[in-house]
Symmetry: C2
Subunit: 358 residues, 2 copies
């Protein structure tokens, strides 16, 4: 890595070098400190990430996503306990912006997690999102990379699957488990939300509730549709043209992995009684085996690297742009002119861009 490091002109302070040494020595406080440095983007955080990531990704990464209240944390806790019992070291990144709303999830689930937290073989980082406008997605991945570099065997990444955040998990995990409950709505809604594209494994949790068998059936049907077979024979449902959506899904899906390669299973669990949890963990392992043997793991890691480079370049370009006093003065002046109705944000931005790109 030395050549790459020199080429990129990285310099490491003594404090950072010391932190890195303790990090590599497996000292948990150094991991916590590194996460804090990255989260707050303190000076040198990019160099720290570069050093930590130099040995490449090694941990198995499993993502859990789904709507608030679906029981993701309980499943993550059950999975973590099982993996720990098998001797694995586990890192958990929980990004749960809705927990404030989910009726005690923040306190309840974290306390359930806390049973595990006294175990030295598990490290849990619950990321708040307050004030992190725009920065969340990148930071989640970076925290996962720090944990990977620290040497955990497996990472469990839990995110709330609402809109944008659901895509975040594909950038942080190799295997994505989408957790739904009968109350989540029907499979049409899951399709529209793009969940068919990101799920490697579907779980219907709280499977003892009414409607779970129907949701399982619908999901299987929707997955079958997505595979592109029998697209014409699908009747409209709730006034929605299923076949059209399925075709659109199939077109948008990238990379095109046919179900012959990996048949997305639809499982049922009850996280409280642990029913179905062993089967879920087995499906996760099977998917990982498929990823490794079919070459897909490398494809996913390359995609992830590509997205990361783009993210880092975008972040640093913005940072560079606003460093200049001339540019921030132009912004101040521009805001005045916008306020007076003499300009718009677009003409001001264009002027600033012209000076930056000169």
């Amino acid at each position: 890595m030395t050549a790459g490091r020199r080429a990129a002109g990285m310099v490491m302070t003594d404090a950072m070098a010391d932190l890195l040494e303790r990090f590599r020595d497996g000292q948990v406080p150094a991991l916590a400190r590194a996460i804090s440095i990255v989260e707050s983007e303190r000076a040198g955080f990019q160099d720290l990430l570069h050093e930590v990531m130099a040995r490449g990704p090694r941990a198995k990464r499993v993502g859990f996503t789904g709507p608030p209240g679906a029981g993701k944390s309980s499943l993550v806790a059950a999975a973590a306990a099982t993996y720990r019992a098998a001797g694995e070291h586990i890192g958990v990144v929980a990004v749960d912006p809705t927990s404030p709303y989910s009726g005690g999830a923040l306190l309840g689930d974290r306390i359930r997690m806390n049973d595990l937290a006294t175990d030295a073989g598990i490290f849990i980082r619950s990321m708040a999102t307050r004030g992190s406008l725009g920065g969340l997605a990148t930071t989640t991945k970076e925290v996962a990379d720090l944990m990977d570099g620290f040497g955990f065997d497996r990472l469990l990444v839990e995110t709330v699957g609402v809109g944008q955040t659901e895509l975040e998990i594909t950038a942080a995990a190799d295997t994505v488990v989408v957790v739904l409950v009968p109350e989540s709505g029907d499979a049409i809604q899951a399709m529209k939300a793009g969940l068919m594209e990101i799920a490697d494994v579907f779980v219907v949790n709280k499977a003892d509730r009414p409607g779970s068998a129907r949701l399982v059936k619908e999901l299987r049907q929707a997955l079958h549709l997505r595979a592109g077979s029998a697209l014409k024979d699908i009747p409209a449902h709730h006034g929605v043209d299923l076949a059209r959506i399925a075709k659109k899904e199939a077109r948008n899906a990238a990379p095109p992995v046919s179900p012959a390669d990996w048949a997305v299973p639809v499982l049922t669990t009850n996280a409280l009684t642990q029913d179905g949890v062993p089967e879920l963990l087995e499906a996760i392992d099977q998917h990982l085996t498929w990823l490794e043997h079919g070459g897909q793991l490398d494809v996913r890691r390359r995609d992830r690297a590509r997205v990361r480079v783009r993210d880092v370049v975008a972040r640093e370009l913005s940072r560079e742009a606003w460093k200049s006093e001339e540019v921030t003065a132009a912004l101040d002046l521009g805001v005045d002119r916008i306020s007076k109705g003499e300009e718009t944000p677009y003409s001001v931005a264009r002027g600033i861009l012209a000076s930056l790109l000169r």
Copy 2:
């Protein structure tokens, strides 16, 4: 605006000029087309926004945010109906990424909205978020600006308040109504989620349910805490140090508006029976009056303009960066080297940045 436009080097195609003419003529299909151009960032969308925003913001902007299932859409529909009855022209931007999960909200609430949608004095845009990773926040504001420029008297912007998205609404609205339900959890959770900072009006909807009186009381107490009075006397609650959180809230709050300026009301509603809706609309009007008379409206609009310029500059910088074939080739090569363990995304990004900033 002509000078600003020339200075910024904007050119408008005939098709765009034609669209703009129809837009200014108040033709609804031209508005729909403009939104579509902006959402898909088609060529010239920045020029279009510049032209549309040239006359400055005029519409009253009210944001509704809160957890899924709190009844935001019903309140928005009730508000829209009342404003329509008073002769106002209303634009609605609904950003509801969780609707796929909320058990029929997508179909149910939109159908309720559809009662209004046959009215020519109201325009509703429901924004899907699928595939819009990262672009949602900016696009929401831009769609609101298009509607403002089209000439609606009032805009109602509805977002799901989960993490990042909750900050989005402060960038799109002058008055922010935070809608909670007794099931949303307690006031501590609302504080931790940063809702105390963004709410201009709190509404506890579905107020007939158990726990609503308690939530109202807690919210009022929390607002009182946030005002900075009696910070020491607050006992711990659920193991959480209330006073410490309140102090942190007070420190982080920006701009510092003391409650002497605006006392955030905590109201109760029942959107189905319309109980409390008139009082809510009155509170919104009072807040708007306070904004206008106290000079805060200009402060908020300036803040919004500043954020927008920064967003646009960031987006365009990224767009410029990846235009160059040399840079995309460096990315491809970099991904190969990362895959082989010879580099990390950070060293590759740094190399690309060095060539961009040369």
